[in-house]
């Protein structure tokens, strides 16, 4: 038996120090309860980044959520947290402020991202492999190489990563320079879709709709679009509307189509508005009404939909249902062009070339065509050729 246990004074002293735990300040306790380590911080910001579509053309004032994620990635990069390099480089590239500075930063971080991903490729990290695949696919930070992209996506896909599966399928269908392989694409889209990935569900539905790599089946298309829509993906709602509009897998039904487009619009998806407008213009399943068509297209354009802005520009350009107005046309083309909409760049270019609704400016026109051509727009390339300029130089 330990002799000290017979000495009550000592025991009391021991117990005394044991019970007076310090709890610290309230602020300190709040901080302990809420503080996030680097990994948790990264995951939080990455979740914002992974929403994908929204990060195109963002800026600090209109997209505070993305800006916050951006600042977190910056801070993590300062601490040499490697996984932050890739999303940070992307956000620099898509930010619509300080564009020249942003491009420099983007290239810097792309380089670091590639280096880091390479150094850590042995990690069992599907996200890292997908990031590497995307960089190879787009040729950012490394020379464009579809074989390599395919390799990394495949590696992630085989581990059951939905993003890798979707990326792989997407390459087989959509990327020029990769041999088309619809069967493979369907195989991977299905894998992603079955584990609840909305991108995978939409693509699989689309494959069923057009019958590529799988027998055409409107009901299956409807099923997968519904799955995506149930997750709150508005693209699913729009796709369902289109099935009703064209009567694919369901009886053609204008009211139903209208219902689904409206539902998408209510959830903030301006694409729904563009489709409503087009329904009124083409009069396929509802009574044709140019007035209604114009109303909804304007609504989409005013809410910043690039497609809507381009279409509205076209309406004013051609006249017909409104008085022809080149100045209005230029205004809407310009807004769409600012969002990187290549068709709008071409049309705006021709307005400058002809001096329609804007002071004639050959140089500006060439610049706009060049911008469109650089992004692979064939009309932009064609336009330059017409002006006697070799677009590849």
């Amino acid at each position: 038996m330990d002799e000290r246990e017979n000495l009550p004074a000592v025991i009391a002293a021991q117990a005394l120090t044991a019970t007076t735990e310090k709890r610290g300040s309230l602020v300190g306790r709040g901080l302990i309860a809420l503080r996030k380590d680097n990994d948790a911080l990264y995951r939080q910001a990455r979740a914002v980044f992974d929403r994908g579509d929204e990060i195109r053309n963002w800026n600090a004032t209109d997209d505070p959520t993305i800006f916050t994620a951006f600042k977190i990635f910056q801070r993590l990069s300062d601490k040499n947290y490697g996984k932050a390099y890739f999303p940070l480089s992307r956000l620099y590239r898509t930010r619509q402020e300080d564009i020249e500075e942003g491009l420099k930063h983007a290239q810097h971080f792309e380089q670091r991202a590639v280096d880091w991903c390479f150094a850590n490729q042995a990690n069992q990290d599907v996200e890292l492999w997908c990031d590497l695949g995307v960089m190879y696919k787009d040729g950012y930070g490394v020379e464009k190489n579809y074989k390599q992209a395919e390799y990394w996506f495949h590696k992630a896909a085989e581990q059951g990563d939905a993003n890798g599966q979707w990326q792989l399928g997407h390459m087989y269908v959509w990327v020029d320079g990769v041999p088309e392989n619809f069967e493979q694409a369907v195989y991977w889209f299905r894998k992603a879709a079955e584990q609840g990935d909305a991108n995978g569900q939409l693509q699989l539905g689309e494959m069923y709709r057009v019958g590529f790599g799988v027998p055409q089946n409107g009901e299956q298309a409807m099923y997968w679009f519904h799955k995506a829509a149930e997750q709150g993906d508005t693209r699913g709602l729009v796709s369902i509307g289109l099935l009703y509009k064209y009567g694919e897998g369901v009886p053609q039904n204008g009211e139903q189509a209208m219902y689904w487009f409206h539902k998408a619009a209510e959830q903030g998806d301006t694409v729904g508005l563009v489709h409503i407008s087009e329904m009124y213009f083409d009069g396929l399943v509802v009574e044709k009404s140019d007035k209604q068509g114009l109303y909804w297209m304007r609504k989409a354009a005013e809410q910043g939909d690039a497609d809507g802005q381009y279409e509205l520009g076209l309406i004013y350009h051609e006249g017909g249902c409104v008085a022809q107005d080149y100045k209005e046309a230029v205004k809407w083309y310009r807004l769409a062009a600012e969002q990187g909409f290549t068709e709008a760049l071409c049309n705006l270019g021709w307005m400058y070339e002809g001096g329609d609704g804007v002071l004639q400016d050959h140089k500006e026109a060439v610049k706009l065509f060049q911008m469109a051509a650089d992004q692979g727009n064939t009309r932009g390339q064609e336009s330059l050729r017409k002006l006697g300029i070799d677009w590849e130089k």
Partner: protein
């Protein structure tokens, strides 16, 4: 333009740039201070108050347990510690008023520093009205520092007194050059101080807490609400425990 005039122009331009930088830094600091204070208030309203209640409950519980076993030294000590914690927490959350700080100890060194300062810059020793006003203002600062018992502040005022650009009143080029030089040095000092204060503030717990919470909120979370819910849960558990103990 004479070379000294060129130099004066250059110095004045440098001074203007510095002044702008200092103003910007000061604005950043003050804005950040205010925002932090607002945040602190919000934090205490939503969460801090609940922590304080929790500590209060624990103190009651400890007191009950100590009452049940009056001979247990450890229980007595625990109860006392818990009560102190509860009081500190309540003060921090603003639920009870904090004890005013005890008046400063007047040391002989502090007295000496005050004497030095008064001798050096007493308004009565001014030779012009302008100079008298400048000295009055400085003396007021010395008095305040003395009341706080802040010997360092007095010593700083004394050491800066000799370098004060405002003591140069001449309008000739030479005087203006000296004045600009002193002003630039003063601004650089100020810039360093402000930067230091900003850095220090960004090291504080409250700043980190604010950053964490605001970022999570910007990305759609409600960390304070979640924490409050969790604390309410703990509170009701404590209440039951207390009822049973009684």
């Amino acid at each position: 333009m004479l070379p000294e005039e060129q130099e004066l122009t250059r110095l004045e331009a440098e001074q203007a740039v510095l002044e702008e930088q200092v103003t910007t830094a000061e604005l950043t600091l003050e804005t950040s201070k205010t925002e932090t204070a607002q945040f602190q208030h919000r934090f205490h309203q939503t969460v801090g108050r609940l922590y304080a209640q929790l500590d209060e409950m624990d103190a009651l519980l400890a007191r009950v347990q100590a009452g049940l076993s009056p001979d247990d030294v450890a229980a007595q000590a625990h109860a006392q510690a818990a009560e102190q914690q509860a009081k500190a927490s309540a003060e921090e959350a603003g639920l009870i008023e904090a004890q005013p700080a005890p008046p400063p100890v007047i040391t002989p060194e502090l007295k000496l520093a005050f004497r030095q300062a008064a001798k050096l810059m007493h308004p009565d020793r001014a030779t012009s009205e302008l100079e008298r006003l400048r000295r009055t203002e400085l003396m007021a600062q010395v008095n305040l520092a003395y009341e706080r018992g802040d010997q360092q502040a007095i010593e700083k005022l004394v050491s800066e007194y000799g370098q004060d650009p405002e003591s140069i009143t001449g309008g000739d080029v030479a005087s203006r050059i000296v004045k600009a030089c002193r002003r630039i040095a003063q601004l650089r000092r100020r810039m360093g101080e402000v930067q230091q204060q900003i850095d220090a503030m960004q090291q504080t717990e409250i700043f980190h807490l604010k950053q964490t919470i605001e970022e999570t909120e910007a990305m759609g979370g409600d960390p304070l609400g979640d924490l409050a819910k969790q604390l309410m849960q703990e509170l009701s558990e404590r209440k039951i425990k207390l009822e049973i103990a009684r």
